[in-house]
């Protein structure tokens, strides 16, 4: 097969790690606390836009801008959580869908601030191209140089990026895997199963749900910013609602309610997502490459349906547990 070079695999690996972080945010909200968030992309988008705007317009250093991006994601979580978390779960589901779309439409229609449909590169108006990821690239170069210095072999910027996102993903997974099995995680799971029962034994349900929503927003926001830094230029369409469902697909593919299934789901997903080139065999070779790119989205949808129907527990999940009635 042509094009199976290291560059492609690095690209797929970076995508997989960023998507795994994205899915982990949803995992904390949905799998741990049972909060149905259908607008995860909203947290990703607001954090990315806040970061890019602060870098481009106020020339803030990147780490500070990223911190502000996370704070904006937290603010959005509070905005959604304070009115909705006291109500039934359905209300949060609706509010999050709406939030995802509102963020995108705001980004489309506030061109002076966001660059409008043209995206981040038009943030300073039509006359000059705006960059927000110079700091990121400089850091990647430093890391690459560092690795080259230690190992004696030159490494690419992408390899440095892959290493960084992999380490971030791993740290987050370890951190939350430990917490999931701590008493804190037990309370969240109890709330997921039956929040009245949890309240009846003395657990402050709304406070825990708020924690889960905020943590998910922070992780989601981080993944959104990493995605933005990695793709270099983004527009509102990069934060389309489908992104949220990719996160669900990753959770479902790997295995619902299993934190260590997230990387597996993310690898499977990103191979499918980035690997249009794998779809060049007959009879798909009858289509031109543009059509095959759309076919890829169709296959992702088909896979979601097949998994739900045939293997709802995913690759690693526990079917016995899943099939118990609530």
């Amino acid at each position: 097969m042509a094009g199976l070079d290291l560059g492609f695999f690095l690209f797929a690996a970076i995508t997989a790690c960023i998507f795994a972080i994205m899915a982990l945010g949803l995992y904390v909200q949905f799998s741990l606390a049972g909060l149905p968030n259908f607008g995860h992309v909203a947290f990703m988008a607001v954090a990315s836009y806040a970061m890019a705007i602060l870098v481009v317009r106020l020339s803030l250093p990147l780490p500070l801008a990223m911190l502000c991006g996370l704070l904006v994601a937290v603010a959005l979580a509070l905005l959604l959580g304070i009115p909705c978390l006291r109500l039934r779960a359905d209300y949060l589901a609706i509010a999050t869908v709406a939030a995802g779309e509102m963020v995108r439409y705001l980004a489309m229609n506030l061109p002076d601030l966001t660059g409008g449909p043209l995206g981040s590169m038009a943030m300073l108006g039509p006359d000059q191209v705006a960059f927000y990821n110079l700091g990121w690239q400089a850091m990647l170069d430093r890391v690459a140089a560092g690795i080259a210095h230690v190992t004696g072999t030159p490494v690419s910027r992408d390899a440095a990026a892959a290493l960084i996102v992999f380490v971030v993903m791993l740290l987050l997974l370890v951190f939350f895997a430990r917490l999931e099995h701590s008493p804190w995680g037990r309370v969240l799971k109890a709330i997921r199963e039956d929040d009245v029962a949890a309240a009846s034994v003395g657990k402050h349900v709304v406070a825990y749900k708020m924690q889960a929503l905020i943590l998910g927003a922070i992780i989601g926001g981080l993944s959104g910013m990493l995605l933005a830094l990695q793709i270099g230029v983004f527009s509102p369409d990069d934060y389309a609602p489908t992104l949220t469902f990719y996160a669900y697909l990753i959770l479902i593919l790997g295995g619902m309610n299993r934190i260590w299934a997230i990387p597996l789901g993310a690898i499977l997903f990103s191979l499918l997502y980035t690997g249009t080139r794998f779809l060049s065999f007959f009879p798909l070779s009858l289509f031109d490459s543009g059509s095959r790119a759309f076919l890829r989205l169709f296959l992702i949808g088909l896979m979601l349906v097949l998994f739900m129907a045939l293997r709802p527990q995913g690759v690693l999940g526990d079917r016995r547990q899943l099939l118990l009635e609530k």
């Binding site: 701590s182 039956d194 309240a199 009846s200």
Partner: protein, 261 residues
């Protein structure tokens, strides 16, 4: 009185589910709450535990007003309820169900498992021992690792009772604990309830339809009908009360007459 209900009212869309109800539950008593279907007994439990808010009236528990408290704070104050149909956490194990309910686990705060692992582990070991002990008492030890969703109806009731005890309550509210339970298990449940009072000094308020059973186990009976308390006293007093007979039997007579015509 450990629990005092004063002039409590709650209407749902014009229908008075509880209306100006007043009664008390003495410390270490087993008090029965009886009355025909729709009398407002379960609504009363929902009001007591803060699941719904009263329109007016007062609830005092251990000298403290609790009518405005959230459910979890009522539970922490020591007033815990067992639901009519058990609300166990089916997709968690029996042991997890029990351990969840324990108080004062610092590890329930976010991040504490990382910041103070030793403290969390120490308390966790205590909680685990406490859970094993109670599971042994309830004869559920062999099921500790099973998902709670695999338990039978009666075992679920036992588990919920056990989970309630993990909160270390001063008073428990039992909503029809014997309903739908095999006679042998019902007997066992009843023994547990008596033992709770005798050994742990726990006050019990129990909703039950089996009047013979109630009269034998309780030392005080509160009778509700149409949202109000129509009588209260010792089992013997209540059984002799004309209004109680009317509420139970009179209605029945009327129904028989209506059926016949």
């Amino acid at each position: 009185m450990l629990l005092e209900v004063v002039d409590l009212s709650k209407t749902f869309g014009g229908i008075a589910a509880v209306s100006h109800a007043s009664f008390g539950v003495a410390e270490r008593s087993i008090t029965a709450l009886i009355g025909p279907n729709g009398a407002g007994k379960t609504t009363m439990f929902n009001l007591l535990t803060g699941l719904i808010r009263a329109d007016s009236g007062m609830i005092r528990f251990a000298g403290r007003s609790i009518e405005r408290l959230r459910t979890d704070l009522v539970a922490r104050a020591g007033l815990v309820r067992v639901f009519q149909s058990p609300r166990i956490l089916t997709r968690m194990t029996v042991r997890e169900n029990m351990m969840l309910a324990a108080k004062d686990q610092p590890g329930e705060r976010f991040g504490m498992a990382w910041m103070a692992p030793a403290r969390v582990a120490r308390r966790e070991a205590e909680i685990r021992a406490q859970a094993e002990n109670l599971l042994g008492l309830l004869r559920l030890s062999h099921l500790a690792e099973a998902f709670a969703g695999t338990l039978s109806g009666g075992q679920r009731k036992l588990l919920e009772l056990g989970r309630t005890l993990m909160v270390e309550p001063r008073m428990i509210l039992l909503d029809e604990p014997m309903a739908g339970v095999a006679p042998v298990l019902a007997e066992q449940l009843l023994e547990h309830v008596k033992m709770l009072r005798a050994q742990r000094g726990i006050t019990v308020c129990i909703i039950e339809h089996d009047l013979d059973l109630i009269m034998s186990v309780s030392d005080h009976v509160v009778v509700m009908d149409e949202g109000t308390v129509i009588a209260s006293g010792s089992p013997a007093e209540v059984q002799a009360d004309g209004r109680v007979i009317e509420a139970y039997i009179g209605r029945l007579d009327a129904a028989v007459v209506a059926d016949a015509s």
